[in-house]
Each structure stands twice: as C-alpha cells, then as structure tokens.
C-alpha cells in the first residue's frame, strides 16, 4: 500500500500541474463551494476553458489522436481530473456530451461522422445532450413511447422527452425512440443522433424545487432525422442506450454541496442554547458519522483508482456513492438549518447558511436524478450481490400490451 505515484504517474502529474498553474488559479478551499444554479457567463467561460484545454491536448486525454485526444490511460485521465479539480475552472457543461454521447458516437458512428462530430465536441464548440427519459419512462427508461416512423431514407419523430440537461444550449443530442410498439418492450427501439436545431423540436425548461432549471422537456413534432444518423441497427436501440446508461450510472458521483467539513466548521462557531454546537454530543455523533461516510466514499474511490492503476477493471463500488452522499447532503442541510432555530427559514448572505439551505432544497433531486435510491439499491442487490430479479410484468408481451395505468 502506498499513496505515491509510480515514476511515470508522477511525471505525468507534474506535467498536468505545470500547465494548470500556468493557465488557471487554485480554488480557495477555505470558503464553502456553492454551485450557482443560474449564471450567464458560465457558458462562455466554460467554452473558453475547454478550447484552451483542447488546444493544449488536455481536453479528451483518452481519445485517439485523430479526434483530439492523446490516447491516454485511465490512470492518466484520473490524474488529470484530480489536478484539474484543485483549480477554479468552469466545469459540468460538457460532461454529458463527452461522457455519454462521445463514447456512443465512437462506437456506432461512421468514420466520416466521427471526424465531423468528435473534434468539435472535444473542443467545446458543439455541445451535446441526451434524450432518453420520458414522462411515463423514468426509472423504467425502456418504457419510452416517443415514436419513430421510417419514411424512405429518413425517420419522422413524434413524442416528448424529459429531464434533458442542457437541451436549451445543445447543438446535438442522442435519442432513443420506439419504432415498433408491437414488438417486445426491449426490442422495439432504435437509436439516433439529432441536430437540436431541427424544425419541430421545442425545448421547455423545467423549474425545480430549488427555483433553478437544470433540466428541460423536449417536444418532438414531426422531426425528421436522416437514416444516416441512426446509431446501431433498427431494433438495437436498447442495446445502444444501455451502454450509455451504464456510463451515466458510473459517472454519477458525489451529490456535491454542503458536507461534513461545512457542518464541522459551522458547529465550531454556532451557539445553541448558550453552548457551542460542537459541544453537543448529538451534533458530534452526527459529524462523526458523516465524516465516516465521506471518508468511506473517498477511500472507496482510491481503491477503485488503485485497480485502474494496476490496469484492472474497477469493481461496482462506485454505485454506492450517490445513495450515500445524497442522503448525507439532506441530513447536513437539515442540521445546518435547524441549528438556526426560528431564523433557519431566512435567506441570508452567509455562505454557510446558503450552503445548508441549498443542500436541503437540492438533496431531494439528488436522491432521484441519475437513478433513484430505490433503483440504485436494486442494481446493487442484483448486479453486485447476485440476488434474483424482481418478477417482471413487462416481458414476453408486445409493448403496447404492457399494463401502464393511465400514465
């Protein structure tokens, strides 16, 4: 066991850090990190930063050179990500494109399409989104009903997608739709990529509990997609989609927001009934438990990285991150707000209080987005522990005959 890089890793890390130090500034760790939900300049800054990375070869390290990468190893990607995370740089806007759409294009697009689409994606010039979920297909993504009808060398799409992050500023999207409801549920879907500026696409933001709108509804009315933009065979839509979803569920990480350090710092200064909150044993026990959870997640990540560093495929441990961190986020938010007693409802300029209130308002969404607590527990039970599947009422019949209530 050691936490040192191999000589090669150390060399690579040094290279990353040198470039970053030249081109960005370190984060100020002493102030709580609050994700700003709506920020107009964010996009511009993010695109500029992505371009800068791309020009210097840092944008998509593991991609082949011809699409803008340098063919780096998994470990090198992690080292880069670790180092970049220490700097105050805009992130997040390209995650879906680069993390989910890129890999699908890499696997299923033609050579010309890859040359056309991948470099601008890596460069941050073109932004991509993912169009899977539907109003009646949330946890059960394969329950989707948006229709694709073939018409010569093109397809006509009608239906509605939902929970699409970044749809309003995306240039392209990957899309899975049902081409035949008479086939079995998982066999009647086909996968495409689509120009988000196509006629017939309408994007409406979804307002969340937090007041922000990080997601959209996307309506398709007679939208035309050339057959050349089909990814995979007709009827292979679910096979293509599931790879993407696996990428998503692995990528879904820490819930972010107020954490145990924030609770700890706050408890040191906030008084409760005349005593510092940190002298309250109930508060201390909560802080101890949150610290153990946070630490457990961090060390689980380190074990995963160790596996990667050895060239092994990491285990399924990553699936626990969101369950644990989203629950913790909700509890810490609650803890912070309650420590203010009657004044806990008030919005103030205090960054800590903002952090707790954002945590409390945002955590319910974190417990749902990218797989609900319940779906993730099912995944752990079935895929990791090998327990039998739930009985399925949606197999072996035509999609149109599966019970769906009124929804």
């Amino acid at each position: 066991m050691d936490f040192n890089d191999t000589p090669e890793e150390a060399k690579f890390r040094k290279k990353c850090r040198e470039w970053l130090e030249k081109n960005a500034t370190y984060k100020d760790e002493s102030t709580p990190q609050n994700d700003d939900f709506a920020n107009a300049n964010k996009m511009k800054a993010a695109k500029a930063w992505q371009k800068k990375k791309y020009d210097a070869g840092w944008a998509m390290l593991h991609w082949p050179k011809e699409y803008g990468g340098i063919g780096a190893s998994s470990m090198e990607r992690i080292i880069w990500a670790n180092e970049e995370a220490k700097f105050d740089v805009p992130k997040g806007i390209f995650e879906i494109g680069l993390g989910m759409c890129g890999p699908v294009m890499m696997e299923y697009a033609t050579e010309e399409q890859k040359e056309r689409y991948l470099p601008p994606m890596a460069e941050g010039k073109e932004i991509w989104c993912q169009l899977f979920s539907e109003p009646s297909a949330g946890s059960d993504v394969a329950g989707l009903r948006s229709k694709a009808v073939q018409d010569g060398d093109k397809w006509i799409i009608n239906g509605q997608k939902v929970w699409t992050s970044g749809a309003h500023f995306s240039d392209f999207g990957i899309l899975v739709v049902r081409h035949d409801p008479n086939l079995e549920k998982h066999k009647g879907m086909t996968f495409f990529f689509v120009d988000m500026k196509s006629p017939g696409i309408e994007v409406k933001p979804i307002k969340q509990i937090t007041g922000g709108s990080s997601f959209n509804e996307v309506y398709f009315t007679d939208v035309e997609i050339p057959d050349s933009q089909r990814l995979g065979e007709i009827g292979d839509g679910w096979k293509v989609a599931i790879t993407t979803l696996m990428n998503e569920r692995l990528a879904v990480g820490d819930a972010g927001g107020a954490d145990v350090e924030d609770a700890f710092r706050w408890a040191k200064t906030q008084d409760n009934l005349g005593d510092p909150l940190l002298t309250n044993k109930a508060a201390r026990e909560s802080i101890a438990d949150w610290y153990c959870e946070k630490s457990g997640l961090k060390n689980t990540k380190l074990r995963t990285m160790s596996a990667l560093s050895r060239g092994d495929t990491p285990g399924p441990e990553a699936s626990i991150t969101k369950i644990v961190s989203a629950g913790k986020l909700q509890d810490i938010g609650n803890f912070g707000i309650d420590s203010l007693d009657m004044a806990g409802m008030l919005k103030t300029d205090n960054q800590d209080i903002k952090g707790f209130q954002n945590a409390w308002l945002g955590a319910p969404g974190m417990r749902i987005a990218g797989g609900t607590d319940e779906i993730l527990r099912n995944i752990i039970a079935e895929r990791v522990l090998g327990l039998p599947q739930d009985p399925r009422a949606d197999k072996g019949v035509a999609f149109k005959d599966i019970p769906s209530g009124n929804s």
Partner: protein, 370 residues
C-alpha cells in the same frame, strides 16, 4: 374512556375540510408562493367570516367561546391544505397571549377586533441567528417603551399588532405593540417558504402595553409556546396526512416495468413507515389536545411529545412524498415541495426539533417519569 373528538368537533372539522377544498387552498398557497403577496387576503377574510379567529375567544368578546379542541381540528385542516394565512401567528400565539395574559381592558380592546379581523397579530421573539433563550433577548423595555429589532417574525407583513418579548432591568416581559404607530419599521426577509412571509421589525421608542409582569415574561412565553405546540402539531399532522395521501395516490397510479410502483416493496414499506410515524404522532396529538383542553399537569411533556413526533412525521412524509414521486417530485410544478417547505417552516416557527427534544427530556426530568 374517550380519546376522540366529539361529533360536533368532527362535524366542524368536516366543514373546514370542505371549505378549504372548495376554496382550493392548495392552489392559493402556490399563488402566494409564486407572487409577492405574503398571504392570501381573500382566504383570510373568509376564514374570519367563518369565525375561526374567534373560536377560543369568549362570547362576551364576540367570540365563539369554544375550546382548544375545536382549534385542533381546524389546525389539522389548515395544515392539510397549506392555507397561506397568518392563522398560527394570530390565533395560536397572539390571541392566546391576550386571552391568557391580557388585562380586562386589553381584552376588551383587542379580542373583539381579532374576531372581526380588524386586528391580526403575531409573536416576535428571535433577535439573531440563534434559538431565543432567556439570555439572548436584548430588545429593551424602559419607561413604557421598547427599542430594538426582532427578526424572522412570521406574518408580520399583515399583522397589525404583535406580542414582543422584551427585556428591562427587572427581567423579561411580554409587550403588546400596535405595529401601525410611528417608530415601527417592518421589512420583508426572504425565506425558504414564501407562502408565509417572514419579516424583521425595528422598534424605535415605541409605546407598549405590558402583558403579565416585568419579571416572569420568559415563563409566560414558555407556557404560551407549550400550548401553541399542540396546535402547531395538529397543523403538522394535517400536512403529513396530505403528503402521505399524495404519495399513496401516486404510487397507485404510476406504473413502472408494467405494474404500479405501489406494488414494489421499496415503495410499500416506505409508505408504511410514513403511516407509522404519522399514526404515532397523531395519537400523541390526541393526548396533548386532551392535556391542553383540561390544562393537565403533564401538558409540558404531552405537548413536547406531540411536537417532536409531529415534526418527525411531517419531515419524513414530506420528503418521502417527493421521493415517491420520482422526477416529478422535485419539479416546481408538482405540489410536493410546498409540503416539504411548510414542514420546515412549521418545525422552526416555535423552535427546532432538537430543542423540543431537549424540552421533552427536561420535562421528564422534572416530572420524574418512573
């Protein structure tokens, strides 16, 4: 042996429910939340017309002269429909303070106007970002006047009067203040549940009337809060029940993988846990209502028990209702979040869960439970 409401009380509750349903109180709550109104004036007027603000006010002061039990059933319904009105501030706190501690003269002046709606009251205690205690009240009372600032005062935007916790060189006292006089400045403070506005109030040499004496104000305040906790708890179980009902309905109607999500044990058992928490809380509320209505010796522990379990039930039910709704649950469009917000507001308005747990154990120590 009858730990239940009377038929008359149940009838009153039924009528209240029908009224609030017909008035679409839930939609009114959304409207208040989404605009700059800090309460629903029209609904409030109708509530006044129904006489609810005078339930506990003796008939000699134009009230209905009913008891706390009638107030409990109304509170439960207001909680169920998230009615965006200053009922808790004006009725559970302000009105009760006047009834309990006002001189005859004050009662004659104030109570009829509470019945008619001319007066709306609130209670102002917090001064900074901490739980109020005997030791952190600094708003000063001297020569019949108060000076200082209160924050996080619910419903002060609509209130005409307030009971203010103040400190003089003799001790803590409760002061009755007319908020329309010169020297009073009320300012809106943004909060997490804008369906019930919160405000700061600054007092600059404002004349007041003393409630009770200048020494035992803190004890009067505590006693007032212990009573009000029962009513707040009823609002909380009303909200919990509504959240549970929403979750049950959704779980029956929403399908995933070819069957209703309510047929999955993950959802079933979640809802069973919500039901359990709610049932415990409700039963504790019934007992506390009895203790309140008979001014029983164990009111402090009974009200703290109701308060702690109702707060826990509402927090659980409102957050797991969101979870049951999946993606829809955390949209602004669905009503789930309005219950989540209100659960927090009600749990803080008269002090946090952890401080009520503390009150409960303190009362057990005093009464020596074994």
């Amino acid at each position: 042996m009858n730990l239940d409401f009377s038929d008359d009380q149940k009838f009153l509750q039924e009528e209240a429910r029908k009224f609030l349903e017909k008035e679409e109180a839930l939609n009114r709550n959304r409207a208040v939340l989404e605009t700059d109104n800090k309460f629903d004036e029209d609904l409030w007027k109708k509530i006044v017309d129904l006489g609810w603000t005078g339930i506990r006010i003796p008939e000699e002061y134009d009230g209905l002269g009913l008891g706390h039990l009638e107030l409990c059933v109304i509170a439960e319904e207001l909680g169920r429909f998230l009615a965006p009105v200053p009922f808790s501030s004006s009725v559970y706190l302000f009105t009760e303070a006047i009834i309990n501690y006002g001189t005859d003269e004050i009662k004659e002046d104030i109570l009829p106007k509470l019945v008619s709606g001319e007066i709306v009251g609130t209670l102002a205690v917090t001064e900074d970002l901490h739980a109020p205690t005997k030791n952190n009240i600094n708003l000063s009372y001297a020569n019949g006047k108060i000076n200082g600032k209160k924050i996080a005062v619910p419903d002060a935007g609509v209130a005409t009067h307030a009971v203010v916790v103040a400190k003089s060189n003799k001790g803590i006292s409760l002061q009755l203040v007319d908020l329309s006089v010169t020297g009073v400045t009320t300012e809106h403070q943004e909060n997490i549940d804008e369906s019930r506005g919160h405000f700061s109030i600054t007092f600059n040499d404002v004349e007041t009337q003393l409630l009770g004496d200048e020494v035992s104000g803190w004890e009067l305040y505590e006693s007032l809060i212990n009573q009000a906790a029962v009513l707040f708890s009823y609002e909380q179980i009303g909200g919990s029940q509504a959240s549970l009902d929403m979750a049950i309905n959704y779980a029956k109607e929403r399908y995933a993988f070819g069957r209703p999500i309510g047929s999955y044990q993950a959802i079933k058992h979640k809802l069973a846990d919500m039901y359990i928490a709610l049932t415990l809380a409700k039963s504790n509320c019934y007992y506390a209502a009895w203790a309140l209505s008979t001014d029983a010796a164990d009111l402090p522990s009974a009200s703290a028990t109701a308060r702690v379990s109702a707060t826990k039930a509402y927090q659980l039910c409102s957050k797991e209702n969101i979870q049951t709704h999946g993606g829809n649950g955390f949209t602004w469009e669905y009503d789930c979040h309005m219950f989540y917000r209100r659960s927090k507001l009600l749990s803080l308005n008269i002090g946090s869960l952890s401080n009520w747990r503390e009150k409960l154990v303190t009362s057990l120590e005093q009464s020596n439970i074994n």
